[in-house]
Symmetry: C2
Subunit: 205 residues, 2 copies
């Protein structure tokens, strides 16, 4: 059986949980307390030398890190990954946008809020907030003319971008005036077999 | 003909220039002065609303952003992208690692050095340097047992990681004691049709 090493508050982990649910795949789930070093133990570093969750372990023991690479692996040959080669590249374009221009601002500010460490980062807050708003602007600009990010259908590009956008308010981002973005969030949440970030699988060690 | 919007000092742009050279593809090349806002003009934002280079424009006018998505698009069906599905996911794993855990530290410190703005970021320098060193550690750990990042052959994972690693010293990272990493840099530089980051195509507006 597949096994996912994860942290229950992680949006990167939630991406994988959401796709696994929508694919109807069973998996073992290990919730690591990354706030207290559980992804930096010698045991976990043997699985992922980069010390990060999520990490997927396949049935044969091979490991795969990086949330968006895991999405690619699970989605291939399914409706969540387009058949058209250029659309595939566009899905990856949005997933790299997510990791470079979105997550470091929107997810990281949420993390600092949840961990109570905002004050340790006061010199960076204004810049991170501005860059997060800029990422939301880029998304809204695209969604003005599109129902989903690629090919007018729900794909892993939407899953990757939904994970931290739908909880951006937990990092202090105000989405109330972003009606185009909120309509897309609702379209994503209305997809078959959607699960929320708080719908957690049974914990296993 | 393909057209690449780029900035001559950019490692992200160099990734694409290197692969295009190794694929033997002709392309038009536009060098944008991103230090002075050339990627934020209304004209360029129409091509890439995220305001970043590199940007590839296909023969039919379609655009593709994000260096690693461009590598994927160009490499598919060539020897630079593996045939094995799991190896494909591993290539993407390393490319997401590059954009999330490597580029924001190693490339950004180089950028601040080159732009002369290190002092504006003094509160972040120690943390960025430590995270850059950690990324180099992860690469070395993998390369202890491997000639290249995936499948024991040169792929776009190597191109993505080579681009900023081979100029890491321009950002103040000392590679002199990292013999495993340096041996891999030499293997990459010895690939057929390799071009350097300073081998620039003819400029065109």
């Amino acid at each position: 059986m597949l096994r996912l090493y994860d942290f229950h508050e992680s949006g990167n982990g939630y991406k994988v949980r959401l796709l696994l649910a929508q694919l109807g795949l069973d998996y073992g789930w290990t919730d690591l307390d990354i706030m207290h070093g559980a992804s930096r133990t010698p045991e976990f570093l043997r699985l992922n030398p980069n010390g990060r969750i999520p990490l997927l372990v396949l049935e044969d023991g091979r490991t795969l890190a990086e949330s968006n690479a895991i999405l690619f692996h699970l989605a291939r040959d399914t409706a969540f990954w387009p058949e058209d080669p250029f659309e595939q590249a566009r899905v990856l374009q949005w997933m790299f946008f997510e990791q470079y221009s979105h997550e470091p601002y929107i997810a990281v500010l949420r993390h600092w809020h949840l961990a109570g460490t905002l004050d340790d980062h006061r010199h960076e807050l204004e810049d991170r907030r501005a860059r997060g708003e800029a990422a939301l602007d880029v998304m809204e600009c695209h969604l003005e003319d599109h129902a989903f990010f690629v090919g007018e259908r729900y794909s892993i590009a939407d899953i990757a971008l939904y994970a931290y956008t739908h909880v951006a308010e937990e990092g202090g981002f105000d989405l109330s005036s972003r009606s185009v973005l909120r309509a897309w969030l609702e379209r994503v949440a209305a997809q078959p077999d959607h699960v929320s970030i708080t719908d957690l699988p049974p914990r296993q060690l």
